[in-house]
Point group: C2
């Protein structure tokens, strides 16, 4: 599963060129002119940029339609339309979670992603079908990508009786993170929803990553309830709020106190940098000390047709959404899609430094900003010291 390799002539984060010696899947040395140890393969970096592996910190591996015939979307406009349509279509459309998560994982790896956090549907219609499928992919494709699972009550936690018990089973089955969803907007019972998901966190000693699409004042209220429970339960550093559209409210009197509390309690924010709605202000959050990560969200599913699992494209979206034009700002956007995700996922051995796991992407470009805006398909992807993708071809074959 791990490998040794001497990577010659690469430029870490677009800096000065050097060599990287990988031993047993870890970075052993980074220096100029390293001689190849006996029996270690050599890869010519051609003076290209090397960045740490891209981190897909929010997606839904179990429900992608990747590789399926085109799904003609005629779904209604409301959030519940999409939720209900998906739950009712999943078996009819043969969205088999093990196969579909494998397909998306390979596509992610091709694009340079080395770590994925996947929310996985848990509902009374399908039970743990999704969890079991994604766990199979996690185990079968460990050579190309690390996957962690969030047990996710997509259809609501309280409004569909039996879901909470299934969430409990999902955590017992080995999900690493407790999920949640719009405690006001979907479950119509913010106290009940949040007490329940935080209780699961307490029971299993696991972090929380909650979807919060609620806008404006309603989202701010739910955020406050999350903040209160994080503080009361001592869960600093263990909570992520995904989407957090409410932080994109134009009213600083609403947003600024929330950001100060998020920073104080080390509550992380995930944003896809959506263009269609309010979105968290990335630079302001980063400058306040909040961990910020990003993700593709659903990729080509019954919710919508978009997505290609490219976290460099996502970094561009972060830049476009936040009006980042300067090179130093593009660096922030890229960091959100690399280091920020690693911080949220608490990946201890992440980064371009001696002793860290050899998980990275080699790609052409003069500067990091150029790498982000160009999104070259000419990428070499290294996972635990092994080259797992080269110019759009994976070492693994999609099912």
């Amino acid at each position: 599963m791990t490998a040794s390799l001497l990577l010659k002539n690469v430029r870490p984060n677009a800096g000065a060129a050097l060599d990287i010696l990988i031993e047993n899947g870890r970075i052993a040395r980074m220096a100029k002119d390293i001689a190849a140890p006996a029996g270690v393969a050599v890869e010519d970096g051609r003076g290209e940029i090397v960045i740490p592996g891209l981190v897909e910190a929010h997606t839904h591996l179990d429900k992608s339609l990747w590789g399926q015939p085109w799904y003609v979307n005629e779904v209604g406009p409301k959030l519940l339309d999409k939720i209900d349509n998906e739950r009712e279509s999943k078996k009819r459309l043969d969205i088999e979670p093990a196969r579909q998560s494998a397909r998306q994982s390979i596509q992610s790896s091709l694009m340079g992603t080395t770590h994925i956090r996947s929310h996985v549907d848990v509902d009374t219609e399908h039970g743990l079908w999704g969890v079991e499928g994604v766990m199979k992919t996690r185990d079968d494709y460990r050579d190309i990508v690390d996957i962690e699972l969030v047990a996710f009550p997509q259809s609501g936690l309280l409004r569909r009786p039996g879901t909470l018990e299934l969430m409990d089973q999902a955590m017992k089955a080995g999900c690493e993170i407790v999920g949640g969803l719009d405690p006001c907007g979907i479950d119509r019972d913010p106290k009940g929803h949040l007490d329940a998901v935080f209780a699961l966190c307490q029971t299993y000693g696991k972090p929380l990553d909650i979807h919060l699409h609620e806008p404006g004042e309603m989202g701010a209220f739910s955020t406050e309830l999350i903040i209160e429970r994080t503080r009361a339960l001592g869960m600093q550093g263990k909570v992520t709020i995904s989407h957090a559209f409410c932080l994109g409210s134009p009213d600083p009197a609403l947003v600024d106190p929330l950001i100060a509390q998020l920073a104080g309690l080390d509550i992380a924010i995930m944003t896809t940098a959506p263009s269609r709605s309010a979105a968290p202000p990335v630079k302001k959050l980063v400058e306040a000390g909040v961990r910020v990560c990003s993700g593709s969200d659903g990729i080509r599913d019954t919710w919508g047709p978009y997505g290609n699992a490219d976290m460099l494209e996502r970094a561009m979206f972060v830049g476009l959404r936040n009006n980042f034009r300067r090179d130093d700002e593009l660096r922030i956007a890229l960091d959100v899609c690399t280091l920020g995700g690693a911080q949220v996922m608490e990946i201890a051995d992440y980064g371009l430094a001696e002793g860290k796991a050899a998980d990275f992407v080699i790609l052409p470009g003069e500067t990091l900003a150029e790498a982000v805006v160009t999104r070259s398909p000419k990428r070499r992807v290294v996972k635990r010291g092994k080259i797992v993708a080269r110019d759009g071809v994976s070492v693994r074959t999609a099912p």
Copy 2:
């Protein structure tokens, strides 16, 4: 310059497969099983989709840095910072308009664009340097793309004396469209600015395409002034407002009366579907009968690093910005980047129909929505019946 060709087995707009016979650069017949006339080359369409040529209805060919060494952007945050920085840097950075517009035009053609409307800077620092350069490209690259020029007072029309005279010279030199820019925000004299640009339109009998970044109430006020002059001068169908961020205001009391008047006077709207600011509601405008087109705006210039001239990617941005998820909505997004642009540019012989110019793109995919979200690089681009680009390789070489 024009060609004959028999294109076998393509699916117009993802419909049923047929053949297209092109004679002298025009579509002569569209039918099943057309036999090749003697001496006419045959191209296998492989059952792929064919769409009419993509229309880049708003860009700045004269100022792209495409093909230059990477420009490290450290520019200040205000609009005037960017305007002043660019005017002061243009010669130092060797942004030679003829060369740079040729490079971007080839890139556009590679991506499937067959028609470009380019705003071209006219200012007291560079005079008609930009206009002359883009006109050279227009003439030299007529085989791959049609270009029309908007004389564009990027640095303001009234605040820098001498600019209006240069605009007059630019129109005399053959620019097809009069441009303008933020009559309140930049020139600080909305009446003076608009009277001047409309007077140029009257003098030369040419349409207007005005940049309007002004948000909210200020932008609505400028829009009203444009509406008043369009009506008074009988310029129905001859005015485009580019950007029109004010139409993205959340207040229907502000926006709806404007849209009704735009529709009534046939004033067109150009949107890049920006994610960082308010943006015109595309579906609402189209449903009201307003012509809507799109464009890349600046591509990799001193304003910002983004852009690849791909109008299919732009259609995806239109979709993402407007929360288009359904296939019928994606069709609207694509139409904006094809037919909408052709309507705004008044391209008489545009479209997939017998008698029209053979300007189109052949690309893989089951449906139009799939073509938009996939943005396959495997495109064949046909201009006046000749295949001018194939899988990212142009018949022309960039200077």
